[in-house]
Amino acid sequence: MKFPIFLDNMSTTRVDPRVLEEMLPYFSEEFGNAASRNHPYGWKAEQKVDESRSRIARLIHCGPKEIVFTSGGTESCNLAIKGVCEIYREKGDHLIVGTTEHRAVIDVARRMERSGFRVTYLPVDKTGIADLEALKKEITDKTILIALMYGNHEIGTIHPVAEIGKIAKERGVLYFCDAAASQGFVPMDVEAMGIDLLALSAHKIYGPKGIGALYVRKKNPRVRLAPIIDGGGAERGMRSGTLNVPAIVGFGKACELAQAEMETERERLWKLNEKLKKAIESSLDYVHLNGHPTQRLPNILNMSLEFVEGESILMGINDIAVSSGSACTTATLEPSYVLIALGAGVELAHTSIRFSFGRFNTEEEIDFTAKRVIETITRLREMSPLYDMAKEGIDLKNVTWKKE
C-alpha cells in the first residue's frame, strides 16, 4: 500500500495512465492550434478535438456540437448562470438554486442577486434531496433558470434529476445541472432527463485538471448564452480562447474509459463504500450516515462520528487522505453549509468525515482505513468530555454552554 492512502477522490483524482499516454503527443509533435484552418497541424488538432467532443457527448447522450470546452467545472457553472442571466433578463429576473449546490453555483447566484436578480434557495430534506413540491410552488413567470446539481460533492445525494427536468419543461424554465461530481460514475442522459445545461469536469474522472465542459442544448429549446470570455469566437462564440488540445484529448479519453467501465466500477465502488460503512457502524456507537442511504453516488461515504471534532480525526488518521466538513478544515472556517442544510444541527458538520473512493483504491486500503478510523475515534472519544456526558445519559442539547 502507498501512504497516505488517497480517499479524497472528490477533491481530485490521479490521471489514469491510459489518459496520460493519449495526451502526450499533443504536447509535442501534434502541437497544432485546433482553430488553424490552413495546414495539417491545425487539421490534426481539430480532428482530435472533435473526437474528444464525441467521446464526451456519448457519455451524457448529447450531440458533439453541444459541448463547449471551458477551464473546468467552476467556469462551466459561471458560464451557465451568468450567460443565461444576461441573455434572458428581458424574460425574467428570477433564479431557483439548491441550498446544497457547489460554491461555484451558490457564489455566482449571490453575485446575480447583487446585480438585481432575485434568487430562491430551494431547501432539501434531511437526506439532501431537493423538495420538488417547493420547487413547483416557487416557479413564477419571471423564473428563467433552475440550478439543481446531479450528485452532491459532499454527501453524494442524487437529486431526482429527470423529475426536475420535467417540471422545468412544463413551466418553460431552463434547467442547469452541475454534474462535475457525478459524471462518469452514474448513467446520464440529458435528453431523457430534460437537462438544458450540464457542467462537467475532467479531473474528477482521472483526466487532467484545468479542463471542463458545458453542455448547451441546441434544440427544444435552443439555449443561448452570453459569453463571459470574449475573443476570437471559439466554441460557437460562447467561450473564446485557444483550445487546450492536450487537456481536451485527456478529457475525451477519461470519458471514454468512464463509460466503458461504469457498470463494473460502480459495483466495485459500492462494495468498498458499504464495506467501510459497515465496519465503522459495527464497531462504533453514535455514528450517522450523511446523505441518502441509496440515492447516492457510489464513491462517497460521508459520516458524522459524534463527539469527535473533524480536524482532530484527520490529524489522528494522518496516513489516510480524506476531508471533513468541520469548520477548522474548510477554507472559510465555517462548517459545511451542505451538512447544515440537512437540518440536523451544526454539530453534525463539526464531526463529519468524507471518504471518497476511486478507480485506484483497493479493498486492502479500505480494511486498513476501517481499522485506523475505529482506533482513532475510540482514542479521541476517551479524550472527549461530550462522549462521557452522552454515556452518562445527559442530553447535550439541554446543557447551557459557556460560549467564547
Binding site: 490529524m315 477548522c328 454539530e347 479524550m383 468530555p385 462521557d388 447535550l396 459557556k402 460560549k403
Partner: protein, 129 residues
Amino acid sequence: MAYSDKVLDHFNHPRNLGSFDKSEKNVGTGIVGAPECGDVMKLQIKVENDVIVDARFKTFGCGSAIASSSLATEWMKGKTINEAFQIKNTEIVKELSLPPVKIHCSVLAEDAIKAAVEDYRKKKASVAF
C-alpha cells in the same frame, strides 16, 4: 496546514488526560466552549492549601484545542490557584507555535483555567460559611 511538533506531541501523547470526581471538595471544574462551535474543554484541578497538586483535562476539539488544554494541565500543576489564574493565552500560543486561526483554542484554554479556579474558589467559600 502543518502542525508544530509540540502540538503533535500533545495530541499524540496527551498529558493528564482524564477526570476527577467533580463533587469532591478540593476539586475545581471548568467546562467552556460549546458543541456547535466545534470545541468544548473540561479542565479540572485538585487543590491542597491553595496549591494545584494535580490536574486533568478532556477536550472535544481540533488538535490545537487538545494540545492547548493538555499543556494547560502541565502548567497548572504545582502553581497556586492565584498563579494559575494569571496564565495567559498568549503564552500558550507561543509555546505551541499556534497559527492565527488557532488562537481561539488558546483563549478557550485560558477561559477553562479561570473557570476551574473560580469553581474551586466558589466551593471553598460555600464550605467556609
